[in-house]
Amino acid sequence: MKKRNKRLPLIISSSLVALLTMVAIFEPWLVLHDPHVINMAMKLQGFSATYPLGTDHLGRCVLSRLIAGARVSLFTTFSILIVTLIISLVVGIVAGYVGGMIDTVLMRVCDILLAMPNFIFALVIVGTLGGGLFNMFIGIVFVSWVWYARMIRNMVLSLKEAPFVKYAQVTGVSRFNIMRVHILPFVFPQIFLLKLIGLGSTILLISELSFLGLGVTAPLAEWGMMISDSKTYLLSNPMLMFIPGFMISLTVLLFNWFGDAVRDALDPKTL
């Protein structure tokens, strides 16, 4: 009975994540109107049958832009997840397992990168590179791998002393193969889980940078940018600001919940 209770949040949250991902993937078939087409004759319309969530200051369909925004946000978030995962795994495992000078140098680099607050560092990098989707991606990746690389390195340090690693060393397995076959499978699930829990904050970071005009740029639609566009209409059309923000919060909430649910489901202590 208890076990079923534990699975329930995981099932619900993962199906909602899947649903959202589906919406992002099938965006071109789901949008009611072209999210980028400007139609000044239809600007700032209220809710209606043709425009379920109204139109923005350039007459673009809000619902379609929300769906298009889901695609941009999720696509960027997942790419960031994959790239930071790879970088932090490589750096962390090499630093931890090979050790010596390489470890010292890599960890000092991490120290330096951690000497700046995350958001400000990302902001400065994206700002100097000149904004845009790709530069935002670089900026966020640049600040996100460091902390995880450190975690992995510390995990590897204790794994290094494990009997099965010692055995592999004695039997002459190459360094690369030990890292690949014996270390990676142990480290990966834990780091993947940590990254999963951190997905929500990546989504927030993307929307914040886009809100500042440094991330996703027009004509692409993004939730943070939609809020930024709507700020002049706060008094006359507050919905333009409420709806995209609600979507961001809901998505972040969903991913946070999903991360927690996965962690709880995997954690033997709470069984």
Binding site: R108, D111, I112, L113, A115, M116, P117, N118, F119, I120, L123, V124, I125, G127, T128, L129, G130, G200, L204, S207, E208, F211, L212, G213, L214, G224, I227, S228, K231, L234, L235, P238, M241, F242, G245, I248, S249, L250, V252, L253, N256, W257
Partner: protein, 313 residues
């Protein structure tokens, strides 16, 4: 303690040096030529000769390393150069704006401490009560909201609908409330959770049981035994939070149109005023490193296990 201090100071110097490297080289890797940008900003028709003259004057045609040494030499004399756009001294400009941001951030910190200590302690003491469950749900929700959206909602409700506080801008103490409250709301959930968990964990400790056995009043136990134990983890996290506060302040300044460092830095980015950016990276890096340093020292003073780590083996 001495060895701990020496080690900590050495690593601080290393971090500061690293920040200076980042500040210097980040600007050099951008695809835009700063001299061309300079001409574009000031709307001077760029000729080959005039651009070369500026390059000569600013030292851009020297090798990178000597440029770096030269720049560091000026930085040590607290000369951060002059802005490309306003021609004013970057150090002074940054510091004057930094105080505004600092004001918002520290008021927010005050709000964070008040909110999270009261709510955190209450929900730990009344564990699993309705209040506790409501808090848990609402902090989970608030933590998912982007700060700029929260800011707009506060503006909409408090300033537009109720007309209680000024909408935007800067000047009086009323202008300080909404921005710092926005910042605080974003950060408090983390602390409420931290305080609650830490206090609940300690309720199982023998010294709390002993205090109960001695017949101490419940609120004496809460204040003297439970709350004091949450201080060390709280201190370390607060230092980390200062970074988040500064970052959050940048966004909040944009929403509330406050002329702080965030506004300044975004404008400078738009104008490719790289001298300002360099100064900004140095200033924030220095501030953040210094705060972490102080927090570490304070923790080491409270907790002997930290300062003795690695010693006496």
């Amino acid at each position: 303690m001495q060895r701990f201090l020496v080690r900590r100071i050495l690593s601080m110097i290393l971090a500061l040096w690293g920040v200076s490297l980042v500040a210097f080289f980040l600007i050099r890797v951008i695809p835009v030529d700063p001299v061309e940008a300079y001409f574009a900003i000031n709307q001077i028709p760029a000729s080959k000769e005039s651009m070369d003259a500026i390059r000569e004057k600013q030292g851009f045609n020297q090798p990178l390393l000597s440029q770096y040494a030269n720049w560091m030499w000026h930085v040590f004399q607290l000369d951060f150069g002059k802005s490309f756009v306003s021609k004013l001294d970057v150090g002074k400009e940054l510091i004057s704006r930094f105080w505004i941001t600092f004001g918002i951030a520290s008021t927010a910190l005050l709000f964070v401490v008040i909110l999270s200590v009261t709510i955190g302690v209450l929900s730990a003491v009344k564990q699993n009560s309705l209040f506790d469950r409501l808090t848990r749900t609402s902090i989970f929700t608030i933590a998912s909201m982007p700060s700029f959206w929260l800011a707009f909602i506060l503006i909409y409700i408090v300033a537009l609908k109720w007309g209680l506080l000024p909408l935007m801008g800067w000047g009086t103490w009323q202008h300080l409330i909404l921005p710092s409250l926005t910042l605080a709301l974003g950060i408090s959930p983390y602390y409420i959770r931290l305080i609650r968990t830490s206090m609940i964990e300690q309720m199982q400790q023998p010294y709390v049981l002993y205090a109960r056995a001695r017949g101490l009043k419940e609120n004496v136990i809460v204040r003297h035994h439970l709350f004091r134990g949450t201080l060390p983890p709280l201190l370390t996290s607060l230092a980390m939070t200062c970074g988040g506060l500064l970052g959050g302040a940048v966004i909040v300044e944009i929403v509330f149109t406050i002329p702080g460092i965030g506004r300044y830095i975004l404008d400078s980015m738009g104008a490719r005023d790289y001298v300002v950016l360099q100064g900004f990276i140095l200033l924030i890096g220095f501030f953040y490193i210094a705060i972490n340093f102080v927090a570490d020292i304070m923790c080491a003073m409270i907790d002997p296990r930290i300062r003795l780590k690695g010693e006496g083996k």
